[in-house]
């Protein structure tokens, strides 16, 4: 009798749990798990979307085609360049801002609110504001001219357009990572700094020998999030180039290319799915390498 009671209460708890989890399981099942399998299926097929959807099995041809696709190589090169420059820059900037903000100055809250503005603003709005500032006759060129530096055709010059997007994104994402650093800075014991002061360490030495090493786990977290985010660059490139990835493919990113193949040209949806898989594997590898590197570093 008693045993039965326990069983039924267990059963009740299970059914309550599944009541609580039902929306989550439904959404993950239909819009994540099913799509992953579907994507795998698509990547081995040629897909035609005329009227109904038609699939032709072509084996691994989609994956092999990547090698001969010169736009895919350009997109990959642009994206890699973007990741390699933006991730370290935004991380360093975030760390410096957080350490400065954490120094116990007055007006900290005021600065925090201002710094948080770009995080709140949509990528579409930020991109439009920057395009307006990057205008040939715009604010940035005027400012450069004023201090005697050369001006650029920020949007139209293939040599410059990607750099223009990099600057914009370092500016807009660093403050978000700063807030993560700020939270972590609270956990560094004051005693470390006090001991260093007694030993006569300068502010910079304290930053370099206490703050930076103590934040290593956070730095690796910030880098991973940064890598994942930058690999997925899309909105800014799309709006900047009107969806083309131009001028001269200079702002073409992997995700923009996937979008173009999937939705803007006929019969290449399967190929786009294969590219998306390749990108996912790339991101996962980058994440693991980063995790491994930061683990080894923390041994020192």
């Amino acid at each position: 009798m008693r045993k039965f009671g326990i069983k039924s209460s267990k059963l009740r708890e299970s059914s309550q749990a599944y009541f609580f989890l039902a929306p989550t399981i439904f959404t993950i099942g239909v819009f994540i798990l099913l799509p992953i399998l579907y994507a795998l299926f698509l990547s081995f097929h040629e897909v035609q979307l005329l009227g109904g959807t038609k699939y032709d099995f072509i084996g691994i041809e989609n994956f092999l085609n990547v090698v001969d696709d010169h736009r895919a190589l350009i997109a990959l090169r642009n994206t890699m360049k973007y990741v390699l420059i933006v991730v370290p820059s935004q991380t360093a900037l975030a760390l410096i801002l957080a350490a400065t903000l954490n120094a116990g100055l007055k007006g900290q809250t005021f600065f925090r609110i201002i710094y948080f503005l770009p995080t709140l603003t949509s990528s579409a709005v930020l991109t439009l504001i920057f395009m307006w500032m990057y205008n040939q006759n715009g604010l940035i060129n005027h400012a450069l001219e004023f201090i005697g530096l050369p001006t650029y055709n920020w949007i139209g010059d293939p040599q410059i357009a990607l750099i223009a997007i990099m600057i914009m994104n370092i500016w807009s994402t660093a403050p978000f990572f700063m807030t993560i650093y700020l939270a972590a800075l609270q956990d560094i014991p004051d005693s470390l700094y006090e001991a260093a002061s007694l030993d006569g360490a300068t502010a910079f030495q304290k930053f370099w020998y206490i703050t930076v090493p103590s934040l290593r786990p956070v730095t690796s977290f910030v880098m991973i999030i940064g890598i994942i985010g930058t690999f997925q660059l899309f909105d800014q490139s799309y709006i900047f180039s009107g969806g083309s990835g131009g001028p001269d493919n200079s702002t073409l990113t992997v995700v923009l290319l996937i979008y173009q193949y999937a939705f803007k040209s006929m019969g290449t949806m399967g190929y786009a799915a294969a590219l998306a898989f390749a990108l996912a594997i790339f991101i996962l590898i980058a994440t693991f390498i980063q995790r491994k590197l930061s683990k080894e570093e923390s041994l020192y």
């Binding site: 579409a124 604010l139 939270a183 799309y238």
Partner: protein, 278 residues
């Protein structure tokens, strides 16, 4: 956080200079956009650099609604999708987080791993199949096509799980003694006390929906169903040199998020501290 500590040395003025300089760098694009939104077209194209408009005007804000009759509709679409989507997320993520934190049930590990897995899958993988699934369901150009696939969020399920693990058990036990059911306890006792965690969630999920560009770009082809980011992009295409209009539209688009942030900010800082304590 407001403890006065660390550097109390000569570096103070330098620190203030760094902070102020970066504050200016952060503010300039916004101030420039705001200022441009109050200028007439001839002042915009003249290329003079003045932050205070010479001929201050509110016309741009009126004109965007007249020139582009759909602008109000886009605003509504964005508000509707973001509000409903955020409401569902807050409810469903909290429910899932609670179950994973507090209840014992068969298959708990599997569900937990499932949520973990979702965190690792880049959105691009599901992008194309999701489009085909929504097409099959007849949900292209619909609100549910935007809302339903995004009505739960693995990150916040984790956050809520963490929150409920640290949540005092005694409250629930006394509620149970008072004869409330598990479900009743959750909705009447637990959820109202989870406000700080919910506030952080509200800000980030609302922003996610509000700012999302790619999902509506793919599933909304009917201009009536555009959300603001999409509308803004097409607006830019039509009025390419009318930067006064584009900036006014951008400002209208930015306001709601700033208001939400201003309103929930005080809870939000507490909420973030909670996640920081992992």
């Amino acid at each position: 956080m407001d403890k006065n500590k660390k550097t109390k040395s000569i570096g103070r003025p330098i620190l203030y200079i760094i902070l102020s300089l970066y504050a200016i760098i952060t503010l300039i694009p916004f101030l420039w956009a705001l200022s441009s939104s109050f200028k007439p077209l001839d002042e915009i194209v003249s290329g003079t650099i003045n932050f205070i408009p010479k001929a201050f005007t509110l016309d741009n804000y009126r004109e965007i609604f007249i020139q582009q009759p759909l602008f109000g509709r886009w605003l509504f679409n964005s508000l509707f999708i973001a509000t409903v989507g955020t409401g569902l997320n807050v409810l469903f993520n909290s429910m899932a987080g609670y179950a994973l934190a507090r209840l014992e049930f068969a298959g708990k590990k599997i569900v937990f791993v499932l949520v973990l897995l979702v965190l690792m899958i880049p959105a691009q993988v599901t992008l194309i199949p999701n489009y085909l699934i929504l097409k099959q369901l007849g949900w292209l150009n619909s609100y549910q096509g935007m809302i339903v696939p995004g009505m739960v969020n693995a990150t916040f399920i984790f956050m809520m799980r963490q929150f409920f693990i640290n949540f005092p058990k005694e409250l629930e036990e006394s509620a149970e003694l008072d004869g409330l059911s598990r479900v009743g306890t959750f909705f009447r006792i637990v959820l109202p006390l989870a406000k700080p965690a919910l506030a952080a969630q509200i800000i980030f999920v609302f922003m996610g929906f509000w700012n999302n560009f790619m999902q509506p770009l793919i599933i909304m082809s009917d201009p009536e169903m555009f959300t603001l980011p999409l509308g803004l992009n097409s607006f830019k295409g039509q009025y390419i040199s009318f930067w006064n209009y584009i900036m006014a539209a951008s400002m209208v688009f930015t306001m709601p998020v700033i208001l939400i942030y201003a309103f929930f900010n005080r809870y939000f800082i507490k909420g973030v501290k909670f996640t920081g304590g992992k």
